[in-house]
């Protein structure tokens, strides 16, 4: 079982869209996938047309087994939904004996090929606990200075986790890519100069990606042929299609 975390402390960079899209993409590719919502906003369930719920709270605070709290979302895809009670779960983790091991313990008996953890835009104990449980971190970022600073913060957290003896791989996924804006170009160049092959091809800005959650559909269901999936320009650069091919390479090791 591989555990992937989707993280960036900056909000509005496309974490949940990325988490839902790659989770459903992996499920369609035949991987038994669990998507866990660690954000009190509960938008994972909402994006898939399902009700928000205290799944994460029950998993952590009530210590219910994963098979009881996970709900069926699509073929091969289950989710542990979140809601405002996730915030209470966080307080429970803070006062527990081994807070950074909480998520590893909760997922210990999970039977999936891939587990994806969708983090809230914050840096807290849930964040560190998720990183401690993870094998790989995918960091979506808008191409603006504040979001890119969020990438640095995630990498600092990963360095702290590495000091505890847990090293994990990562990739950076530029989102809301708009190649006509000079700032976008400058920030992408800067990211690539610093992080080299950790930077994956960008996800283009696409209104379809904003519409899909309103219908409770994943991007694969709502707009499979749009640039956000298949990339932009004649070369069909980027899009979640290319993210999936790189992710499958990561999963193959």
């Amino acid at each position: 079982m591989t555990i992937l975390t989707i993280a960036n402390q900056k909000g509005g960079v496309g974490k949940t869209t990325t988490a839902v899209t790659i989770a459903h993409g992996l499920a369609v590719a035949g991987r038994r996938t669990l998507l866990v919502d660690l954000d009190p906003q509960g938008h994972v369930a909402f994006s898939l047309g399902l009700p928000k719920g205290p799944g994460f709270y029950r998993l952590i605070v009530d210590e219910e087994p994963i098979e009881k709290v996970a709900i069926h979302a699509r073929g091969n895809l289950e989710i542990v939904p979140g809601d405002k009670r996730t915030e209470k779960a966080k307080r429970t983790i803070v006062i527990s004996n081994f807070p950074t091991e909480t998520i590893s313990r909760a997922l210990k008996h999970a039977r999936y090929d891939v587990v994806i953890l969708d983090l809230a835009p914050s840096l807290d104990v849930l964040h560190v606990s998720a990183l401690m449980a993870s094998d790989w971190v995918l960091i979506p970022t808008k191409l603006d200075a504040m979001a890119v600073d969020g990438v640095n913060e995630v990498l600092r957290s990963m360095a702290e986790v590495a000091e505890r003896g847990h090293r994990l791989g990562y990739s950076i996924l530029p989102t809301f890519f708009d190649r006509t804006t000079r700032e976008t170009v400058v920030q992408l160049q800067s990211l690539v100069e610093t992080f080299r092959d950790h930077v994956w091809p960008p996800i283009p800005q696409d209104t379809k990606a904003r519409e899909a959650p309103a219908y409770g559909k994943s991007l694969w269901e709502y707009c499979p042929n749009s640039p956000v999936i298949s990339g932009f320009g004649e070369e069909r650069t980027g899009g979640y299609g290319s993210t999936m091919s790189r992710l499958l390479e990561v999963l193959r090791g």
Binding site: L188, Q189, V199, W200, P201, P202, T237, R246, E249
Partner: protein, 115 residues
Amino acid sequence: MDNLKRQQAVDPAVADLLSDMDRKRRLSSLPRAMQKKARKDAARHKVGLDFPPALHEELRQVADKEKISISSLTAFFAKRGLDDYKAGQIDLVPYMRISRSARFEFVLTLEKVED
């Protein structure tokens, strides 16, 4: 130490994208007349392909002999090869070996693979 070659350390799709954006940025800073010429050059559909140096040299020699460009000669041979392949006159299987890349299942060699 002169023959050291820096390894590709950027995702190829990201490198292509950056190079395309850089080209467009440089284009927009040129005078109008030069922009026109640069656009015309860009429309010539240049492609970058991996090519064995010895094969490149052979093509260059034929191109020199026939007094034609190496691009048109290569395009001509590629078209003839493609037509033969479509007509079932070329079998690629004897030239295939298993690829070590995750992206492709096979690589094609220029000589038949020994059994």
